[in-house]
Amino acid sequence: MHSLKFTGILFAIFLIPFVLRLFGLEPYPAILFPSGPETVKQVNGKTEIETKQLFAKKQNGQWALVEPKAFMYPVSAIQLAKLVSKNMGFKKQKPFPLKGKIGIVNYLYRSQNSSSSAAEEAELRNWIKKRLKRGNYQTSEVKVATYSNIISTTNGNILKKELKDEKYYNLD
């Protein structure tokens, strides 16, 4: 049988990451399964969902939706949603926790909170351009559009799609 000491350690191994995640600081690796407790509200048979989509210009100059699978390949298409939600990978300087006074905390947040260097941005632009070229899009610019979608809860279809925000990224 596992000992009391082992059981106590096991409990701590579970509890510490669990509490950290509640504070938005999920560690890895940890015995944590996906949670996602957010909800949607139905009002008069409708509900609202926000979507972000990546657009690029076709060769004729028209903006077109970028097909996630082809664009991201061999990266999983799911990662595109993450990419567009984090400013297409262009990192901006963010304040460090605890006013940046603790060295180890600054070190841990160095990738998350520091801005990209010019060389890193150039590399990222080339990475995006390579993918656009592969999909026969123009490589000079992309945009991320944020929509508010009104969805019918009786048939699940989008009733209205309203543009909330557009962000352009110059790649040249």
Binding site: M1, L4, P29, S35, G36, K82, K86, W127
Partner: protein, 384 residues
């Protein structure tokens, strides 16, 4: 013995009663696991070498955030990919299975850490957890070309008991926040609908049965919220109550994943193999042992392994995705393949439950005799 000692002892006794099996059963399960890792889990990681450094944002509290400054060189990732190909073959054939199992688990944990540096933790922790637990279960001592020697760390009962408790912990972590926000009488607020519409419109996952759920009344989502959270909160109770109830909950879990795949196109197939660890395969051990001694069976296994290895080597070198080996790589074929695999897992579990005995001789002996357990003799003296 203090009262806290007694509670701990009672707790683990109940867990062992629900989970105990033997090295013969686990040897069969080891072969199943290796086959799964070789034929189903065919994801490669060398593509990460081409990712720009700007995308390197690992989880703040993770090993690579401490030690790495960017994505690894392609050569390292190729070594990792070949490790993830060769170790399952070693696990199937029983070539130093403990070392192969641990190597697979550690490599996968590491490459996933790099993948999550892209910004999303995918919570595929259960497979590595199972492999680490079962590496010390004695599962490599039978049906093996180069079997593991018995180690003082080996314990079939302890490793399965630990795995079961970790599964329960995991589900509790999934349920806790949902229980706070989802369990209420507000019929106009639901979390399942958010998952569904997000799958459909943000991730374009196109689930197989999406049309059915799209037309369903809104209260169906609320019912899914409540049943989902209750299901995720139940495993500890099932585990502590009885072996049959624990196995039934595992069957329910497999069914839950199948529903998730059909309605949300969220696939956690890596969890499926973990649930199968708790089925007792002892009755087929003798048959399997006879079978693998026949020349035609050896030839068939060699053929399958060589073909799968060839397909995977090509995939590693060309970055071409293959999904389930032996199935064409098209979205629909792979999706139907996964549904079939879940149905197979559910069926195996159902058969396992129907033939399951409430309390095995092994677990009874284990609970009654602490002395035997302390020396781990129970794991090595079991006979069929």
């Amino acid at each position: 013995m203090t009262s806290i000692d007694k509670i701990t002892y009672k707790f683990w006794s109940a867990v062992v009663r629900s989970t105990a099996t033997n090295v013969f059963s686990l040897a069969i399960f080891r072969i199943l696991t290796g086959t799964f890792l070789l034929l189903v889990l065919t994801i490669n990681y060398a593509w990460m070498a081409d990712l720009p450094l700007a995308l390197f944002t690992p989880p703040v509290l993770s090993p690579i955030n401490l030690f790495a400054t960017g994505f690894p060189h392609k050569a390292w990732l190729l070594i990792a990919d070949f490790t993830l190909l060769l170790t399952p073959i070693a696990i199937i054939l029983g070539i130093k299975p403990r070392m192969a199992t641990l190597l697979f688990a550690l490599t996968r944990l590491l490459v996933l850490n790099y993948q999550y540096a892209f910004g999303k933790i995918d919570h595929e922790i259960l497979l590595a957890t199972m492999l680490v637990c079962l590496a010390f279960s004695g599962w490599g001592q039978r049906l093996a070309i180069w079997p593991d020697k018995a180690s003082r760390f080996d314990s079939t009962t302890k490793s399965l008991a630990l795995l079961a408790v970790l599964i329960c912990f995991g589900y509790f972590s999934a349920a806790f926040e949902k229980a706070i926000f989802w369990l209420n009488f507000d019929m106009n607020t639901t979390g399942s609908a958010r998952w569904f519409y997000n799958s459909l419109y943000n991730y374009q996952r196109e689930p197989l049965l999406a049309p059915l759920l799209k037309m369903s009344p809104f209260w169906v989502f609320k019912a899914m919220d409540i049943t989902g959270v209750i299901f995720e909160l139940l495993p500890f109770a099932a585990l502590l109550y009885s072996r049959k109830l624990w196995q039934s909950w595992l069957l329910l879990a497999a069914g839950f994943h199948l529903v998730n795949l059909l309605f949300f196109n969220i696939n956690f197939i890596v969890n499926g193999i973990v649930y199968l660890a708790f089925i007792d395969y002892t009755t087929i051990y003798a048959t399997v042992r006879r079978l693998i001694a026949t020349p035609w069976f050896k030839a068939a296994v060699a053929g399958i392994i060589i073909y799968a290895a060839y397909v995977r080597v090509v995939s590693i070198l060309t970055f071409e995705k293959i999904g389930i080996v032996f199935l064409p790589y098209s979205v629909n074929m792979q999706l139907y393949g996964m549904v079939s695999l879940w149905l197979l897992i559910c069926t195996t579990m159902l058969i396992g439950i129907l033939y399951s005995k409430e309390e095995t001789t092994l677990s009874r002996a284990d609970i009654l005799s602490q002395q035997i357990h302390k020396s781990n003799l129970i794991d090595h003296q079991t006979t069929i």
